[in-house]
Symmetry: C4
């Protein structure tokens, strides 16, 4: 399945909700929330792309890294490449409405598993959303992760249980959804959480717990205190707070503060295998990718998802050869310049 054909098809199937631009940087869709853009001026989405784009890669060719190993282990699982599909939702609201949530998530789940990585499913204000996603995940033995919105703790814990039953191997909360103050109008308030509140969540499950939406050193250090297994350095794809910095800009300082104390995941503007290499070099243990899974799945279903993963796996391998990295742990700050 040719990736360019997938993108062409995706453009048709997304009904204008996404232009499937040659470079997916948040410019064309600025402000389109609902839609696929960043909130407000779209600057936080753009900042993700630009911050990563500014990082340059040091090409090295005199060495013996002829056949690099791109795999990692994460939460007890082997990943072919240090990548997971980020939780993305809203086929009707954001993606033009041609496909259902169920169709979308099943493609992402199956494409990921076929290609040797794992999917993360998400949660929304619609009650049926998470159950649908978990049903699809259960069909494949629960080989994935569930990320829940920052509702009141009792509701989160209930949903964690639901995810455990589906067999997921990790759970978490995208705490950066805390600013969606309109949800309170529907009786479903979300909000920030204190260390104590997060501790309660962490202790409610035996699964690794992930805190998604950390953008400062302060929050990263508090996250370590909560006992969570991992953070995702993320500004929610630029969709919750306009003018946040790019993830690649804050990642190095966060990694400097908490690397080794907590697993560091990151998302924001990752499109290619070279971008994966950069994020790892900036301090991430693994990365999440969001929007490209929408175009890949809308353009080619599970096969499209697999084609995309194969593509970035090849790019990552080639980039590791050209930077002299035999394994993912060899990818460090010497690989980049910024």
């Amino acid at each position: 399945m040719d990736y360019k054909e997938i993108l062409k098809k995706a453009k048709e199937n997304l009904n204008g909700s996404c232009r499937v631009c040659p470079v997916c940087n948040g410019k064309a869709c600025a402000g389109e929330v609902p839609g696929m853009g960043g909130t407000g001026t779209g600057s936080a989405f753009l900042a993700n792309y630009d911050a990563l784009d500014r990082v340059k890669v040091n090409m090295r060719v005199i060495h013996d890294a002829k056949d690099p190993d791109t795999s990692i282990e994460l939460f007890g699982k082997k990943l072919r490449i240090p990548v997971m599909a980020a939780p993305v939702s809203g086929t009707i609201l954001n993606m033009g409405g041609k496909f259902t949530e169920r169709e979308y998530i099943s493609w992402v789940i199956n494409g990921c598993l076929d290609a040797g990585i794992y999917p993360i499913v998400g949660d929304t204000a619609i009650d049926t959303f998470l159950p649908t996603n978990l049903e699809e995940l259960k069909k494949v033995g629960g080989q994935g992760i569930a990320i829940i919105k920052p509702w009141e703790n009792k509701n989160i814990i209930q949903k964690i249980k639901m995810a455990e039953e589906a067999g997921v191997f990790a759970v978490g909360v995208d705490i950066d959804a805390a600013g969606l103050i309109t949800l309170a109008l529907y009786g479903k308030p979300v909000g920030p959480k204190t260390v104590e509140e997060i501790k309660e969540l962490v202790q409610s499950t035996k699964l690794p717990f992930i805190l998604k939406g950390v953008m400062t050193v302060d929050d990263a250090m508090l996250a370590v205190e909560t006992g969570a297994s991992a953070i995702v350095v993320s500004n929610h794809g630029g969709r919750v707070l306009d003018h946040t910095p790019g993830v690649a800009e804050v990642l190095p300082e966060i990694a400097k503060a908490v690397k080794g104390k907590i697993t560091i995941l990151a998302d924001g503007g990752v499109r290619t295998g070279v971008d994966v290499l950069k994020m790892i070099a900036l301090g991430a243990d693994a990365v999440l990718i969001g929007r490209p899974f929408v175009t890949a799945s809308f353009g080619g279903g599970a096969e499209g998802v697999k084609a995309y993963i194969d593509k970035i796996a090849n790019e990552l391998k080639s980039a590791m050869i050209l930077t002299g990295c035999k394994s993912i742990k060899d990818i460090d700050e010497r690989v980049i310049r910024y």
Copy 2:
């Protein structure tokens, strides 16, 4: 009333004098004075927008600021958010001529008061302008502020008296209009003022006196000397001197010099609640907003003005949640990065 609809309507009603761009940054209207643009190359308007745009916001989600208080007290008044409508004039000259000054200012006044903030009315070379504005303000009990052009002192003092009679709760001079040398041709010279001259103005009234148009630390310190209650850090929306820096660029150094000694207001490129948060974080006690009140009122009258204020109030509250600020005084330099 939907804000997007308001903007659509505004575009029609502004007769091309303003394009109501997706991002109001001074690019499309560069040089359009008369009109809605910045003077000359338009760079001073653009600088306002760009300087504020460069300021990034530190998202924080691990805390207990679940329901922030967005209000402040200013000149003895309670404001729902730290925002006032800046004095803007010239419906015929600058805004396409469809509506009269009286219509425009009545919408701004009523919309502001309905939404819990206060309007500032302005002054021009047209003799009837200020009286008309003050008449409208008097209808609502004078709940607002009047800013007068830097005429000869005796004329200013006469106009201050007029404003006092209308019941305003503060007065001031937009001293940055000093460079309009063509006004002298009409026998109405404006000009800069010495500390002594400003002292005379300050002492001519019991109302708080505001000096609008301070862009340097030097002037800010002289302003303190005059006994004025407040300065407005402002380059007059980029309309008086091409190539002035952006307000957000000079605000921190000015705040460092005079914070606490004089109330610091600021305007220049503020469009959203996140922009309000940034300006406060940079050192302002409250901000003035100009052009967006033109589009809001031309698109939806008083209701449009209220809709715009409601929108930025929600944005500000959400931004305070996502930066961990329980009250306006919690918004400081830790909230931003630049």
Copy 3:
């Protein structure tokens, strides 16, 4: 005569050789030599504009500079503003061919004198060019300056004599034309000159001698050694060497090295009175303006030239009020930020 009308008319009369862009920055005409552009990629022209554009102006309004004096004295002459018309040539080659050199230069000469400043006439590979220009200058009593190409010294000295006879009050050489190696093919070699060679030129006349085309501190210091009266910091409008820095970028370091030892003139990207103020603040004693005199004269003849000068004189005065400068010598580095 309305300046906008002049520009409109100029656009017609320039036959596409100049687009008369809203902002004259070298973008649209990049590489158009012959034509009105910068050489090669046009980057040296663009750099002139951009370097000056980056300089910001500190607005100050609390002071007593209510009626600034914009005049200076230069080479024993009083200038209404510190501006002269730069030598520009090639109505057929560069400016669309509608008007003759004689028409063009007579407009510039008369417009300048009517408006209280002085013109500089130039020299080219065409033998009749300089004599024609000097004839026109002689008609008004030689009230101007002649700048000669860097031919062999004996030829330059011959032309200096010709200029003296026309009554000019200063002469000079635009030594930055040294790289026009194709002129050697026509038996008219130009080239760089040593200190000794320039000394010979300086000593060949009693008139003040101007060295145009200095872009480094080294050359500026050598210029002082030659005994010349003035340098023009200039990259020849970006027309001789692609990728030279902007004049406003190198001017401060040159001024630091030779200010007071030699008169410092500068040209490059000056369009408005604010630009004049910036160049003076960066270290120039006076500025030369080139392209705007082409559009002003092609659009309105001598009247157009006068209208342009009146415009920038007003802008300069307003800018001096808004920066608190009572006289040109008050314009120093405190006026700007960069």
Copy 4:
């Protein structure tokens, strides 16, 4: 032969594979591999152009460098200017298919030799490619260089012998092609090489050996260790690894580390004689130029190639006059600012 006409003709003959843009910077063709663009986002091609563009040239006109010598000696050969034609291949795959490899390379070879410089021929996955190129080179007495892909050593050594037989005066490997992992699928694996492996190549021939594709100080120092005669600081025209820095950005630090210990060649974004001067000033002993030879040859055959070389030779000479350099070795860091 007029160079503008050549470009016009080239545009027709390239069948859209290259737009022959006014400025060849990699923007229009971003991602077009196959084609003439940079890989992925095209950023590595753009970085080459931009890094060189950021370097400014210090114009100097008070000196006696009236007739500079532009020639150098390299690998025992005299070059009229310090330039060689870089190995470029793929007339069918990348250049629109109108001409054959043989036609293309014969034009480049003959144009270079007619104009006083030397061509470099390349190697691809197609077995007949190198022999065809060498045949053409042999016709002119082997006056050129051959660069071979980083195959397994025994294959490279075999090809070096082939090149020796054609009479070339230097050989090398473009080791930055190491990341083309798809070639392994065709049983023709390429890869990075250790110092030991490169030593074997160097020692397999008496000809000077060139290592093309060095982008870091580390690799440059290892290259010295291998005994190679020269490196080419190059990111392969941005075609092998997206997001590498521009050559002009890394060249100074590489030159600082190995200048004098190994001959430093460089390519990446060089278009004009001023660019040649910049690269030399940044530390290169000579430069390679790629894409402009495609347009010159496609537009005018060997004559087009000669016309292009004559053009940049004139530009270089003019630039040396305007920077006061009597010979290539006078071109050093004082010539530039960045």
